[in-house]
Amino acid sequence: MDTRKEKFPHGIPGHNLTEIEREIPIEEPPVWPVNDELKVIGKRVTRIDALEKVTGKAKYTSDIKLPGMLYAKMLRSNVPHAVITSIDISKAESLPGVHAIHLIENVRKEGEENNNGKYPMVKYAGQPLGGVAAESLEIAKDAISLIKVNYEEKPFVIDIEAAMELNAPIVFDEPITQQEDGGDVGETHDGSKGEGNVRGPSTSSFFGGPRGDLEEGFKEADVIVERTYRTQVHTHMPLETHGVVVDWNPDHMMVYASTQNTNAVRNEMASIFNLPKSKVRVFCDFMGGGFGAKHSAGSFGPMAANLAKKTGRPVWLMLDRQEEHIAEGNRPNSIQSLKIGARKDGTLTAIQQRSHGTAGVNLGAGVGRIAQILYPCPNFATEQYDVLTNAGPGAAWRAPGNVQGAFGLEQAIDELAEKLEIDPLKYRDLIDKSEVRKVERQRGAKLFDWSRRQAAGSGKGVVKKGLGVGQSTWPRFVTLDSSVEVKIHNDGGVEIRSSVQDIGTGTKTILAQVVAEELGLPVAAITVNIGDTFFPVGPGSGGSVVTGSITPPARNATYEAKKALLKLVAKKWETDSSELFIEDGQVGSKKDAGLKMPFKEATKLMRTSQISKIASRSNDYGGFQQPWGLAYGDLGSVQFAEVSVNTDTGFVRVDKIVAAHSCGRPLNLGQLESQINGGVIQGVSYALYENRVMDNGTGHMMNANVDQYKVPFSMEIPEIETLIVEEYGARSSTDAYGIGEPANIATAAAIANAVYNAIGVRIYEIPITPSSILKALNKVS
């Protein structure tokens, strides 16, 4: 085998750092030492696109303006469940400035008879039905208002508990008789318990299925906590809404997209319009957030393309805030029953979880994984049910299922600790086997000053202080279909190319850092051209996979390009290229300190105009836990919350969050802190504010705006202190992972535990509002 052995740093500096030998592919670069010994990696490097962003120079999808471009608006249903009998577009068609109307119609395969009707059945209010392209957005909106849709309305159900009743209106007419459940991936088995709108249960994940014997586990328990927790539907609210600009030229389709996955959008558009992938180009330079909901072309992508096809002109189609709320994804709600048993010494004996959640007309409301894997427990079982309702479809939302699950689990663990008369942080030391979370607890507790914590509800006065903690885990995933091209040009320029997109997290900057570190150049010398599907395929930005997937091939391609350049210098110096290195912008020789050549001068030795090397993500050193990219280890986090609760008004203020996190080798401390800040703010918002409110009588979302759909403003954002724990696993040439998901998981649980500590009454449902506080304190009925 073409491999070599190298010793890598392994473990946590200041705790258990040691070395481990790995067998690695012979073509991969030498091991990097710990961050302290690197020049660019692990440092607070300013975002390379910061100036463009703060000056407004950065062009987002909605900023795209093309010659002859038309503006489009979607037609949406205004009833939640119906058969469409007819759609009259005559008035809209005749409106001056309208260029095309496209209605979504059922597609019949050749020779097939079916009774599905001309138009898709309506399953939720806000479902896309068609679109209009016009000279201006205003005209397109006016045209939409002139379209008359005739409905044959059907009974509908919005509320999750109403939908679970056996006599509830059925969302999907086809009977749901069986769920083949294999957890997340692969093996299937028969659940067979779904009926009506209820589907499931899901009982397993790729971390396994049920363990041990629950009955025996609870028999062994000296203490049992059994509670029901509720979480709300939470919409994504990215600053930039979903949307595209489609320019369908004769030779190819150009799609400017606000997307987390240029490659997926390209593949979708190619499939839908039966085009070769090489004839579809998707481009995303700047992107204003997605949080999981932007992995597809949606309905708006094909709509814009159909309108572009009909008109022969580019079409701009960005959704508005209301559409974003009602139709482009949400975090499903949950009703979770959790029963946990422990011995007097704290040892967990059994965890039983049962949950229901609704992702509207979609599936995907499970919450069980974090209860399955955060704490070792010999006896475990989960039953997770999806409940179908006539509401907008759910979508992946920053740590799907885990945020809801952590809210329940981490409160139950707190309650268990109290029954055992153990400090909740010490109790986690006892039952949590993760070494990195142990360090996070130690360092976080010191930074937070956990010793200030008093007995629950013991504070004096109207405003009571409370301290709480919550933990999380997130698996390390890698997308193997991740490639990067690195070019060294003969003018000294260095360029990175990949279809991977930067969704605002700083991917451009970390790629530049990796290449700069490897080439011994300043970060500013690196040009990053990404977010374009004409470049090598990069990963989608979801599941915190990007850093772990794309930075190793970036380094590996750079290493190959560097070797090619050094061979040219070696030839000139009549030496061996293995003796040469690049540092501080100069090529040097280990043998002869007098030999120096500026990098730019070295690039002039090329016979061609560029050196170009492409690398793809190789397997992890030491292999994967699962062959499709589940790596060993986890991304642990511990968050501490300090709150003030006004017991007269019920107002809760989060004063401070200390967020202790790990992500392998940290690449850019500033950007990591920024992502953690964002995750924490979303967690605060989830715990206290955001809540989709539906009208059960009409099926409409009543707060589909930024006024009544409350998100925190600056005065409601707490002081956030981050603590990054370096943890080396020796798994790739960068050994780095992402932080997107972990930053968001534990916050709501930590806040709920802090609120309990403040007032001495536990709140089992979020959002925690003044009303719920006053009810808990028996101050209102």
Binding site: I104, N106, V107, N116, P120, K123, Q127, F172, E174, Q179, E180, D181, G182, G183, D184, V185, G186, E187, R199, S202, S205, F206, G208, G209, N261, A264, N267, E268, S271, I272, N274, H295, S296, A297, S299, P302, M303, A359, G360, V361, N362, L363, G364, A365, G366, R369, L388, P393, G394, A395, A396, A399, P400, G401, N402, G542, Q626, P627, W628, L630
Partner: protein, 77 residues
């Protein structure tokens, strides 16, 4: 658990599915085989969570035999 994938899965080419960790495209041998549990699914033909037959979309539902099923080999909608 055994995560080996059965061959010739005959999942509709227009299915897309995403769970917390990865994304699946339909076909006979998706690189990451997801199932219904904890998975958000959509049909790119009907551009939504309902299939062209108005039924639920999921890796287990969008298989050969369903009226709107389109095989990976089919080159047109």
């Amino acid at each position: 658990m055994d995560n080996s994938k059965p061959g010739n899965l005959s999942i509709c080419k227009f299915l897309r599915a995403r769970n917390p960790y990865g994304m699946m495209e339909g076909g006979e041998d998706p690189w990451l085989l997801l199932d219904d549990a904890n998975t958000i699914s959509w049909c790119i033909n009907s551009a939504g969570a309902m299939g062209p037959d108005n039924g639920l979309v999921s890796p287990m539902e969008c298989k050969k035999g369903r009226s709107c099923f389109v095989s990976q080999q089919a080159d047109t909608i």
